[in-house]
């Protein structure tokens, strides 16, 4: 007989809910009327690798991990550091010991509290050779004490320089002074993982049925190569501020299909097919979006012994760099707000002023005249044309740039350039083994500071595939590590690069996508594009 009142009560509560949704909610800050359906659907070009914070190695996976888990520090819409699980941190004068204070109301989605031990576990897990994480190098650049020995198996993971002083205090000891260490804790590799779940479920712990996370969302569905769904985590400490209920990521491998489905309203955020931005900006001015990214696009000369003799002559390198009309590439091929590059470091990088390098100041005609002059001086001409091979990895965009560059070199310098595209892994292998003459390169900043780019061209860098080596650059970059303001060093390095021309800077990336006008809160000013779905919301149309 108890049934009746109970169901009545339920009915009443339901009615209440139903009626409350009639009075549409408004955004707590801006006061905009919110849409009833707070589901955000976007597309991925490819399946993400993992949602395990210590394993994930791709950008689209990291975006999901950032929603599911929360690290010590977060970024706001402008990329500034704001508290995450940690409410703040202190550091010593040498900046090699950091102490983070954790909030006491942070909870895992199974109700356990988030403690400093979860971070200790996660960081040890990152460095532990048994995890075999492809991102364990991140622990290395964090310069945690003993990280090298732990990674090589010479020391137990417990030796790592990270300790939980108590449940809410985390101490980190570094081998060298890192002024920007706190900013590194916004990286997904440093997010905590739930030891008890990892232990019981093993490799399956990231499956929707097992996963426990501490971020604003929990993973509720994942069908590889089709879709994944994350939904609001009601136990998240700041759950009240979350507006989006559900985030759906669809895998769509073809950019044109992606765009078609965006037009068919199946997606809230979609891809801009390559070369279509200008057109789409005209047709959908409020939806097509472009903003600078922390990435560069360049061509690297092989300066090692296996490289061609011609490239050992700086005049040849200069000539090739001068002969490229960057405006044609950015305005006619890419057409999406990319920026002509004459420096290696993008201008959008924090604290970096683009130095006025000489060839950046010329007009294109002057550059072409200079290019002809330089190449003639180097002894190449109609009877002795420069010829070399340019390799790039298979992709529509790279192909177009390669073809354009080939024609520019041909028309300006009379150079005979052979193009060879290689499939990605083959390309990496060839470039990494200096088996090329001129090769495409691109680099995206790991963090928002010029050294993330310029370190690449120092002699010890593992990514310096052209084997450029300049003692002054090496020492300037080494000094920069401990300087409070290293911008003068970076400027000097860029000037050296412009003279030596070990790489030809082509352009600096722009991020482009289509976003429906009712989706608000996109952090356009965050050049690293660290997006937190909990900051997004949909307004009523």
């Amino acid at each position: 007989m108890n049934y009746l009142p109970k169901s009545l009560a339920t009915g009443f509560v339901l009615a209440l809910f139903a009626s409350s949704s009639v009075f549409a909610a408004t955004h707590p800050v801006t006061g905009e009327t919110l849409a009833e359906d707070q589901t955000f659907t976007y597309s991925l070009l490819d399946e993400f690798t993992s949602v395990d914070p210590q394993i994930v190695e791709d950008v689209s996976g990291a975006d999901i991990v950032r929603d599911l888990f929360e690290g010590l520090m977060n970024q706001d819409a402008d990329g500034n550091l704001v508290p995450g699980v940690a409410t703040g941190y202190t550091t010593n004068d040498a900046k090699d010991v950091y102490t983070f204070t954790l909030r006491d109301n942070a909870m895992w989605s199974d109700g356990n509290p988030v403690t400093a031990h979860d971070f200790v576990y996660a960081w040890r897990r990152l460095a532990d050779p048994a995890t075999a994480s492809p991102y364990s190098w991140f622990a290395e650049i964090m310069a945690l004490e003993n990280v090298g020995d732990v990674m090589s198996g010479d020391a137990a993971p417990e030796a790592l320089g990270v300790t939980a002083l108590d449940n809410h205090t985390l101490e980190v000891r570094l081998t060298s002074s890192l002024p920007y260490f706190a900013a590194m804790t916004t990286h997904s590799s440093t997010f905590p993982s739930p030891e008890w779940i990892v232990r019981t479920s093993g490799n399956d712990w990231t499956k929707p049925e097992n996963i426990v996370s501490n971020g604003a969302y929990v993973l509720t569905e994942h069908i590889p190569n089709e879709r994944s769904v994350r939904e609001r985590n009601s136990l998240y400490w700041n759950n009240d501020a979350t507006i989006l209920e559900k985030v759906v990521a669809l895998v769509i491998n073809d950019e044109n299909v992606d765009f078609t489905r965006y037009l068919a309203n199946e997606l809230d955020k979609g891809t801009v097919p390559s070369g279509q931005y200008i057109r789409l900006k005209q047709d959908y001015p409020d939806e097509a979006t472009s903003f600078p990214r922390l990435c560069n696009y360049y061509m690297t000369f092989n300066l090692s012994d296996s490289g061609p003799e011609a490239f050992k002559d700086v005049r040849v390198r200069q000539a090739l760099a001068h002969a490229i009309d960057r405006s044609v590439i950015t305005e006619k091929i890419l057409q999406a707000g990319q920026i002509n590059a004459f420096t290696f470091t993008p201008g959008a990088t924090a604290g970096f002023e683009v130095p006025p390098v000489a060839f950046g100041q010329m007009s294109q005609d002057e550059r072409e005249a200079k290019a002809k002059e330089l190449l003639a001086e180097a002894g190449y001409g109609a009877d002795n044309p420069l010829s070399f091979e340019y390799i790039y990895n298979t992709s529509e965009g790279h192909k177009k740039i390669a073809i354009a560059a080939q024609q520019m070199w041909k028309e300006v310098l009379g150079a005979e350039v052979t193009l060879a595209n290689q499939e990605w892994k083959t390309f990496l292998k060839t470039r990494g083994a200096q088996g090329f003459e001129l090769a495409r390169g691109a680099w995206c900043g790991d963090y928002n500071e010029a050294s993330t780019f310029l370190d690449l061209l120092t002699s010890p860098s593992g990514y310096n595939d052209g084997k450029f080596s300049n003692a002054e650059v090496d020492s300037l970059m080494l000094d920069a590590r401990t300087m409070d303001d290293a911008s003068s060093n970076y400027t000097r390095v860029e000037e050296i690069l412009a003279n030596e021309m070990p790489v030809i800077p082509i352009y600096h990336y722009a991020g482009v996508f289509m976003l429906k006008t009712n989706v608000k809160g996109w952090p356009y000013n965050n050049v690293e594009q660290n997006i937190y779905s909990r900051n997004l919301y949909k307004v009523a149309k």
Binding site: I223, N256, A264, K425, K429
Partner: protein, 307 residues
């Protein structure tokens, strides 16, 4: 018959072994490995990873480990790219999807192809015949990577009848476009085969005799023409089914169905050795199975064939 089946299975096993060995060596001969990336891993990290997956051992050793894993535990190993999934899971998830739209495409290809071919044959040299032949060659030569995006533009964007992609457990509205895109060229082949073999049968003396005896056309057609005309169609079914599975690469790319085809191509590019091997083995096994079934069907329908 039993002997024949046993013999065929006896060939199947070494075939699969050869296939495994060749693909295994080819794969490892490809430049780069699963962990080659834009940011080369520090040697220590790479060594840790390779040790974990046993990639530091000689190739023959790796192959034996791999094979024994399959034979003793039916374990195809972990994916090197999708770290939290095993190959068994990937195949277990993707293969039923491929099979499902493959099966319906198969049904569609037969269900439309045979009647189309039959009508063309019966009405030989009329406009119906020309139309059917034209349509079927047209369908055969129109690449499905042209057809697939067109289908999406028409049915999703313009007409708004069907979802533009996804699988959703395989409900019908998600099946329609993949099946159309995948089945047309096979439909066309089947129509052409049916037409020419039926023409041949219609020209035989015993059909002429039957006609002259005044048997009703329907009876002649269903009792005497249809069955022998289908023999070449049947021998085409085995390869056709395998072709459907290969064709699934395109379907998965355009319709985000999550089937096995795209996993294979992706695995080849990612050097995800175990996924690539797993799929090659499954597809190879199926190829063998289907050519066996097709041969048996053939023998069953055609009493002239003895094994």
């Amino acid at each position: 018959m039993i002997n024949y089946i046993i013999k065929r299975i006896g060939i199947a096993i070494p075939t699969l072994l050869i296939l495994i060995a060749v693909s295994f060596y080819l794969m490892h001969a490809a430049p780069g490995g699963p962990f080659t990336s834009e940011r080369p891993l520090p040697p220590q990290v790479l060594a840790n990873i390779e040790a974990k997956y046993g990639l530091d051992q000689p190739i023959w050793r790796q192959m034996i480990n791999y094979l024994s894993g399959i034979i003793t535990e039916f374990d195809f190993g972990p994916s090197y790219k999708y770290h939290d999934r095993t190959v068994n899971e990937i195949i277990g998830r993707g293969f039923p999807i491929t099979l499902k739209y493959g099966f319906w495409s198969f049904i569609a290809a037969i269900g439309v192809g045979i009647p189309l071919g039959a009508i063309a044959a019966i009405r030989k040299n009329t406009w119906i015949d020309y139309l059917a032949v034209g349509v079927s060659i047209g369908a055969q030569v129109l690449p499905n990577f042209v057809m697939a995006p067109l289908l999406i533009i028409v049915f999703t964007l313009w007409l708004d009848w069907l979802p533009g992609g996804g699988w959703n457990g395989g409900s019908w509205e998600y099946l329609v476009m993949p099946v159309i895109a995948l089945s047309t060229s096979y439909m066309a082949s089947i129509a052409r085969i049916t037409r020419s073999s039926m023409l041949e049968v219609l020209n035989t003396n015993y059909i002429r005799t039957a006609k002259s005896k005044g048997l009703p056309t329907k009876v002649i057609f269903f009792r005497h023409v249809l069955k022998p005309s289908l023999l070449p169609v049947i021998s085409y079914l085995g390869p056709a089914f395998v072709g459907l599975i290969t064709g699934s690469v395109l379907i998965d790319i355009y319709f985000s169905t999550g089937g096995m085809g795209y996993f294979f191509v992706n695995a080849a590019f990612n050097r995800d050795y175990s996924v690539m091997m797993g799929i090659t083995i499954v597809v190879g096994g199926l190829t063998i199975l289907f050519s066996l079934i097709a041969d048996l069907l053939y023998a069953w329908i055609d009493p002239k064939i003895r094994y």
